[in-house]
């Protein structure tokens, strides 16, 4: 019973479409913005570094390249990282409802960032770094500590079982959530900033944040790329995966560390952006099937695409330079989708 699948349903074609959409979306997403730059000037500003078209004013160039394009690139990378981490975690934990924050990373990052927002000002002066840099650092540290805690709790008998990892993540998240609430109670003037940070936003993010993001994203991608076939094999269950020749414990640890490293970087840069790691993999799975090779590739670009346009919506829906946190936009899309997913299961 061999079905000749329609052209636009073939995985390779779907992947190519997602990739091309990403390429097209990058310049397109630079069009809207509060500065009111005409479309022609935006194109000219984008084309100028490539050596085409007329030169534009340095102000236009600054806004288009250093604010809008850099932010779009960050959105693309963060979305891609979150979705890829989502695919990896769903595969490793064999749980379709797992997402990049299952291991308590979001709670750890939120906790680290909250502490820095509320009490970090003297530390910033002492270390001579900007407040934003300190918050990113605190978030990264918090995320890594939470991850360490979840893995430590999830380790039993020398291996990581799926259930104990998830339970470890829940325990860590519950504890750190309480710490964030405590910080808010102790320092009331920081509540608004903490809430805004926790909702996730790419406001003010740009080329400066790229090194931090790439430093966590590239090692994470390498870990996952080395083990991508192991994700397929893990679908057989731990015992049969081992009998097929997979070193289950090592592969699982590498995949967890890879996914978590990518997530930690995103959280440090952009706060907690929920649902991208859940929505993008599941939508793509409908088209690409359950094999993890095409899925990981597609999720990187699909997740990037989703966050890119969610961010465009977040910064242009209200107008006048007022922004909605992008985490709110993704949750508004992701919440109903998640409900649909649970209902269909």
């Amino acid at each position: 019973m061999q079905h000749a699948s329609p052209f636009f349903r073939r995985p390779a074609v779907v992947l190519l479409c997602v990739f091309l959409l990403c390429l097209i979306s990058l310049p397109l997403s630079c069009l809207p913005g509060p500065a009111g730059i005409a479309a022609g000037d935006v194109w000219a500003a984008l084309a100028a570094p490539l050596g085409f078209g007329d030169p534009v004013s340095s102000e236009t160039s600054l806004i288009v390249l250093d604010i809008r394009l850099s932010r779009a690139c960050m959105a693309l990378l963060c979305g891609g990282a979150l979705a890829t981490a989502g695919v990896a975690l769903q595969g490793v934990l064999r749980n379709p409802l797992a997402d990049p924050f299952t291991l308590g990373i979001s709670a750890g990052a939120a906790c680290g960032a909250s502490v820095m927002i509320a009490f970090g000002a003297p530390l910033a002066v002492l270390l001579g770094v900007s407040a934003a840099g300190l918050i990113s650092g605190g978030a990264l540290l918090g995320a890594l500590l939470a991850l360490g805690g979840a893995l430590w709790l999830g380790r039993s008998g020398g291996t990581f079982s799926r259930e104990s990892i998830i339970l470890g993540g829940i325990a860590v998240a519950a504890f750190l959530g309480a710490v964030v609430a405590l910080v808010k109670a102790l320092n009331e003037e920081s509540v608004t900033s903490i809430v805004f940070w926790i909702m996730g936003s790419l406001q003010g993010r740009g080329w400066n944040d790229l090194p931090l993001l790439l430093a966590t994203l590239l090692p994470g991608l390498c870990c996952i790329a080395c083990c991508w076939r192991a994700l397929d094999v893990l679908g057989l269950g731990d015992e049969q995966a081992a009998q097929t020749g997979l070193a289950v414990g090592r592969a699982r640890l590498l995949l967890l560390l890879g996914a978590s490293s990518m997530t930690a970087g995103c959280v440090a840069v952009a706060g907690v952006i929920g649902f991208v790691g859940l929505v993008a993999p599941h939508v793509l799975r409908l088209r690409l099937g359950v094999g993890h090779g095409p899925l990981l590739f597609g999720a990187f670009f699909g997740g990037g695409l989703l966050l890119l346009w969610a961010d465009v919506a977040a910064r242009s829906l209200l107008g006048g330079g007022v922004e909605i946190p992008v985490g709110v936009v993704t949750a508004l899309i992701g919440g109903p989708f998640f409900a649909f997913l649970v209902k269909r299961r």
């Binding site: 061999q2 080395c226 679908g235 049969q240 009998q243 020749g245 289950v248 799975r285 359950v290």
Partner: protein, 283 residues
């Protein structure tokens, strides 16, 4: 049968789940070209012994040697080159195509970048062909019946191309015709030199296909030997705890077991009166 050559050897292995001891000093040698059937009641330790032999469960004492090397010290990849296992209830990703599922059997031979070679694809296609499931290649696993899934799972095990196969209740989900077809596949593999160890409930089927029978009762080997020597009424009665009759197969003379006395209707076709308790008194 070359006596010197041993594929798999269990030396006085003991196994326990927590404090519950399951195997008490089992020893077993398997040579190339042998089909060893493990017989025994539910809970007699057949599956545990298979888990020990496949390296999934470490023995509490004693050791398992695979081609002379301790199994416990082998890396998963080395092990998967030498032995393939078919579990009693194979798991799979429901949306995965049968062909891709069979290809997972080639995992231990993949290079680090994880792409299948033409040889891998050919081996998977040949394994599907071997179990008569070529037509299922493009079907998602979730659409397959229990028997079809079992055949595809066997294809995955065969695609591993190992000199040793460990099978746990291959025929449980299969109708008689399918079961015989798969045992024929295994018999062809055996004739090409493969060693096969299988846990099986149907002792008559075991007598037709196995070259050796091993009876396990409460974690102890009750008998171990060629079919014609150990397939006796005494051995089977001791093994299963119920009287069985052994008769010769009308076609090939192999011994076959029949249940001795049952509560079924009498041979003359008349219905036995139903007792008030619904019980059945065996004479």
């Amino acid at each position: 049968m070359a006596q010197e050559e041993v594929v798999l050897e269990a030396l006085d292995v003991h196994a326990a789940y927590g404090t519950h001891a399951v195997l008490h000093g089992v020893s077993l040698r398997v040579a190339p070209g042998e089909t060893v059937a493990l017989l025994g009641c539910n809970g007699s330790g057949k599956t545990t012994l298979l888990r020990l032999l496949s390296g999934l469960h470490a023995p509490a004492s004693g050791q398992v040697l695979l081609f002379g090397q301790p199994l416990s010290r082998m890396r998963p990849r080395e092990r998967a080159h030498r032995l393939a296992v078919l579990a009693q209830r194979p798991l799979f990703l429901p949306g995965m195509l049968a062909r891709d599922f069979v290809l997972l059997g080639r995992y231990s031979r993949l290079p680090w970048w994880g792409m299948y070679s033409a040889a891998d694809r050919a081996a998977a296609a040949a394994a599907l062909e071997e179990v008569g499931a070529s037509g299922l290649a493009q079907r998602p696993m979730r659409e397959l019946s229990g028997g079809e899934a079992q055949r595809v799972a066997l294809a995955r095990t065969l695609a591993q191309e190992t000199p040793l196969l460990l099978l746990d209740e291959l025929s449980a989900a299969l109708d008689a015709a399918r079961a015989v077809a798969l045992f024929d596949v295994l018999e062809r593999r055996r004739r090409r030199g493969a060693a096969i160890v299988m846990a099986i409930h149907d002792c008559s089927l075991a007598a037709l296909y196995a070259t050796r029978l091993v009876g396990l009762r409460e974690g102890v080997v009750l008998f171990d030997g060629p079919v014609t020597r150990v397939f006796t009424e005494e051995n089977l009665a001791a093994l299963y705890g119920t009287p069985l009759r052994v008769v010769a197969h009308p076609d090939n003379g192999q011994p076959q077991a029949l249940v001795a006395q049952t509560c079924g209707p009498p041979a003359d076709g008349s219905f036995a009166p139903v007792s008030r308790s619904g019980g059945c008194v065996r004479s």
